[in-house]
Amino acid sequence: MKAYFSELFVGAWSLILGLKVTIKAFFGPVVTYQYPRTKLEVAPAFRNHIELIYDAQKEGHRCITCGSCMRECPSDCIIVEGEKQEGVKGKVLTNFQLDFTKCSLCGTCVEVCPTTALDYSDNYELAGYQRSDFYFDLLKRVQEQQK
């Protein structure tokens, strides 16, 4: 008889506590983002495809065409090309290609870069119809940013 009533009261109390949980959530804030209309802030540590940073002081990228990233890349998805030019110290970058279809986002290129010319992009809306949509010309991208 005692167990009968204690079960009733314990059960009823737990039911009331349950109702409290849901009503709190009901009046609480909504956590959904309406994606195409409102966008989440990208976390600073978010890893996406790499990008040449635009340096406002140099009015351009910081790449010295050392080729470290190309050599370190385990997936061989970076191509860096440069040439000597008259009156400019060191090599000048002429081509920086990223094949994002092969990239494993390991981040070795960003870590190894001696001039911190590389960083992860914020651009997460990546969807395409063919492979060539993911072959990025990073030099062109940074030059576009310059304009």
Binding site: L19, V21, T22, I23, A25, F27, G28, T32
Partner: protein, 327 residues
């Protein structure tokens, strides 16, 4: 002279029927939207947002979609029963509304045995579920139907016992009489709190809603009795479920919460409707709240709860009420 009287009666009947149909379908559209919205906010989601501002046209769009769908009859199903079930599910629940007094003068028929009428009409739904589950020749449908019958038999008893206590106090079976008795005394929810609780619990079980939604238990029975139904066949079951919710909430409002009573609003004579709707939708919100709080009960738990807790408590409550009324 006599022709005029017939015309008046016909006019009254068609007006009442129109009003009731508007209430029933409007309620289904509103509840389909609000149930999704309320549940969404309990999950900290937004719910429907795309069709119309804040998705208010969502349930209309869903209705149009269901109207446009093909009514598929499974090859081995019993055609007659299969087609009959959704209609049988919808028609009687609409009838229940003719005896509800929505405001002091707003009532189709003031039946002396209104409560019995409403309960019998509401429990016809079980028959429709049984026919639908049996007729669709589907094992899930049959399981759902059998569960529904067992559950409704178990929960009809405490429901009636709880309402019987109210009948003893108010000394009438008509809702108008109950409302007037509560105006003289006090709302029966304060006089009969145990009966109110028992009524609400068994009412949720009667409408086959979570946590007692065993007849359609999605995780076990796909969709239970309406597994095979498509298009408007499904929509009518869906409509009947929301209408049954409205009936349960209405009976609770009339029998326990004072019906259309409330301090008079300055608008018009029929302001009782506003109080009635406020009480009913508060109860509906509670039902949705319960649905999205508790997990589904197991079948033996469901039965044990009714036979070992609800019925004994209802009986004791009835006995005490009878003794007090007699004194």
């Amino acid at each position: 002279m006599e022709g005029n009287a017939i015309f008046q009666e016909l006019f009254k009947m068609s007006m009442a029927m129109t009003g009731i149909m508007v209430l029933v379908f409007g309620n289904a559209i509103l509840m389909a939207y609000f149930e999704r919205k309320w549940s969404a906010h309990m999950h900290r989601r937004l719910g429907p947002m795309e069709v119309g501002p804040h998705g208010i046209l969502q349930s209309i769009i869903d209705g149009v979609k269901l109207l446009g769908k093909q009514l598929i009859v499974p090859r081995d199903a019993d055609r007659t029963l299969y087609r009959l079930a959704p209609i049988l599910s919808m028609a009687p629940v609409v009838l229940a509304f003719i005896v509800f007094p929505f405001a002091p003068k707003l009532q189709a028929v003031d039946l002396e045995i209104a409560l019995v009428f409403v309960l019998s009409m509401a429990s016809l739904n079980v028959l429709a579920i049984l026919i639908g589950g049996w007729g669709s020749n589907n094992k899930y449908g049959l399981f759902g139907a059998i569960r529904s019958v067992a559950q409704n038999v178990a929960y009809e008893v405490p429901m009636l016992l709880a309402l019987l206590a109210v009948i003893l106090v108010s000394n009438t079976l008509s809702f108008e009489g109950m409302v007037r008795a509560q105006q003289d005394l006090i709302w029966f929810v304060f006089l009969q709190p145990v009966a109110f609780l028992i009524y609400i619990v068994s009412g949720i079980a009667e409408t086959n809603r979570a946590p007692f939604d065993l007849p359609e238990a999605e995780s076990e029975l796909t969709a239970g009795f309406h597994t095979e139904y498509s298009g408007m066949g499904f929509a009518l079951f869906f409509l009947a479920e929301y209408t049954n919710m409205l009936i349960v909430a209405s009976v609770a409002a009339f029998a326990f919460l004072g019906g259309y009573a409330g301090f008079p609003l300055p608008f018009f004579e029929y302001s009782g409707v506003i109080w009635y709707l406020a009480k009913v939708y508060l109860l509906m919100f509670f039902m949705v709240w319960v649905r999205f709080t508790y997990p589904r009960t197991r079948f033996d738990q469901l039965m044990n709860f009714s036979w070992t807790y609800l019925i004994p408590f209802a009986l004791v409550n009835l006995l005490i009420t009878a003794v007090v009324v007699k004194l």
